[in-house]
Amino acid sequence: MITSAWLFLFAIVSEQLQASDTLNVGKAERFTRIGDAVKAAFPGAVIRVLPGFYQESNIIIDKKLHLLGVGFPVIDGNQKDEIFTVVADSVRISGFHLQNCGISFVKDLAGIRVDQGAHCVIENNRLFNTFFGIYLKNARDCVIRDNYVEGLAKDEFSSGNAIHIWYSKNITVEGNTCLQHRDGIYLEFVEFSTIRNNTSEKNLRYGLHFMFSNNDDYRWNVFRNNGAGVAVMFSKNIIMEDNLFEKNWGSNSYGLLLKDITDGEIVRNRFHRNTIGIYGDGANRLRMAHNEFMQNGWALKILGSCYDNQVTANNFLDNTFDVITNATVNNNHYHGNFWSDYTGYDLDRDGVGDVPYKPVKLFSYVTSRVPQAIIILRSPFVDLVNFAEKVMPSLTPQTLEDAAPLMKIIALP
């Protein structure tokens, strides 16, 4: 009994000792290389890396450590391998400037890789030209916060993702900036995770990419100038709120691409100047409400494979086409939106137009069948046929209409 009490006390004391254990790394310090300090440290130690230039790679962190960069020490991977590989729980890495990892087509080399770790925190780092930036694999309860990840991606085949998460749970990704990679943030088999306040720009493929990831949410992010803003594929229960999708502009670009997803919420997002605001292919049971679609080529492109989506209380402002579909039957519900192209009237003055609005113009329907027809866009002939179709619909899906179009723009929060 007494011995066990002693042992317990000893354990606490040694824990305390270890926790307060700080190792400095720097030119004039005991350790000149981070790798050596990591090897020598006891679990729970803090490794302070002083400002300087360290040419190191393949630093394997196999115990609980706090790596703390002071004044952003530069760690250069010398185009060889990856820099930090974490294979333990509760590791914290912050304040580093990592650059120049190797490029491999066999291994996904990364600036910081977490393999099988839990409770890790990666924050306030700057990563430049690391093939993959931050790579989590089989991780849980981790936080990736306030990192700046910039790549030099030129084409999709030889580039990595800024933040790549695979087979993980309860991850928080917030306040990061992801530039010029293949995908800004990539999630595959990731559950119960939160992506918020990130900025994802100039990525070749997607700003944020979900694959087979269920029950996640992303909020308050900005996706600008990416190949496509966000792609949500083969996923369920994704909450998408308060994001800005902007200038994802190009002949094959989208703000938000929905591919085979069900039961999501798309609320209070802003879609500005995208070629296609939301592209839905096999998207079912989604609720799209209080979004603002402004100056997009197509605000919504909803293919015939989409069922039971609710499009309510959105603002559609100055889009070249509001809605386009290739279906002849409408399986989705449009109700109570504001359409800037609506020309109806409101005799009873209840704020709701008395004539239903048909958001699918004949011409946009034709272009979905014959894409070449787009060359006569803005021709007076197009206005003529659109008008004729409006008066007497014959080709466009007749039930695709907003029976209660609003007369005034909705004030969005």
Binding site: S251, T275, W298, Q372, I375, R378, S379, P380, F381, V385
Partner: protein, 260 residues
């Protein structure tokens, strides 16, 4: 020829129609700019007006001017002047005065709103150059038609029909062909077809400049690949010039052979 040109230009610059045309563009551009405060949006809105109106006004004024000054032309014909210089002078005088109204009407408000300090100068140049070219093209067509038809009503009818055909009907036919042959690769065909219509060609030129081409998907890419290069641009402008030269030569030829 220059004398005739000068005379008809001065004559037209005293005409209130010229001023009405100028005033229209001034007010339109000014109004749009005041309304939107966005130069690039204004250029897009102007595009639609320019593509409809400059051909229409060119057509109407061309026919009207020819039939109105018929007696004067007869008088000139009695003088020892080559017919070529009489008709060319008349034509250039009208086209130049219409173009001047158009250019001043758009340029003045744009300069006032500081177009030079934005990156939109090239867009405006393309808009105005296509507008001017369209004016020249449709005035030439109107002259050709007017010389061909002695009777003003017939002449007007034919001129307006040509305008209607190129501005509206042509696109309908093009669309029908595209739908009928939708299973064939039609991008190059569509490109070729736009070359045969000055209005379509002008519109595509402006739209590519305005970067709406992203909306046009693969077809837009084909167009951009062709018209985005300096060679394609040159071909497009050369085609528009051909659209001036051919009718001009045709009406000069008719004028030479006609028994007045």
């Amino acid at each position: 020829m220059l004398k005739v040109l000068k005379y008809s230009f001065y004559d037209l610059s005293r005409s209130r129609w010229t001023y009405a045309y100028l005033l229209f563009f001034l007010l339109l551009t000014f109004g749009l700019l005041n309304f939107s405060h966005d130069l690039s949006k204004t250029i897009i809105s102007l595009m639609n007006v320019v593509l409809i109106l400059t051909p229409l006004i060119g057509t109407l004024f061309g026919a009207l001017y020819y039939y109105n000054s018929k007696e004067f032309i007869d008088l000139l014909l009695a003088l020892p002047l080559p017919r070529r210089s009489i008709f060319l002078g008349k034509y250039l005088g009208l086209s130049l005065s219409l173009s001047a109204s158009f250019v001043i009407g758009i340029l003045a408000p744009m300069l006032l709103f500081g177009i030079l300090s934005t990156g939109l100068v090239l867009n405006l140049v393309i808009l105005m150059s296509t507008g001017v070219l369209l004016t020249f093209i449709f005035t030439a067509i109107a002259f050709l038609v007017s010389i061909r038809f002695e009777h003003p009503i017939r002449g007007f009818g034919a001129a307006i029909f040509i305008w209607l055909f190129l501005a509206v009907i042509y696109d309908g036919i093009l669309l029908l062909i595209l739908i009928w042959f939708e299973h064939y690769p039609l991008d190059h065909f569509a490109l070729l077809m736009t070359l045969f219509n000055p209005v379509d060609l002008s519109r595509v030129l402006i739209m590519l400049q305005l970067d709406i081409s992203a909306l046009m998907g693969y077809t837009g890419a084909v167009f951009r690949k062709f018209l985005g290069t300096s060679l394609g641009m040159s071909i497009a402008y050369a085609t528009l010039l051909t659209w001036i030269i051919v009718p001009v030569f045709a009406f000069l030829w008719l004028a030479r052979r006609k028994d007045f």
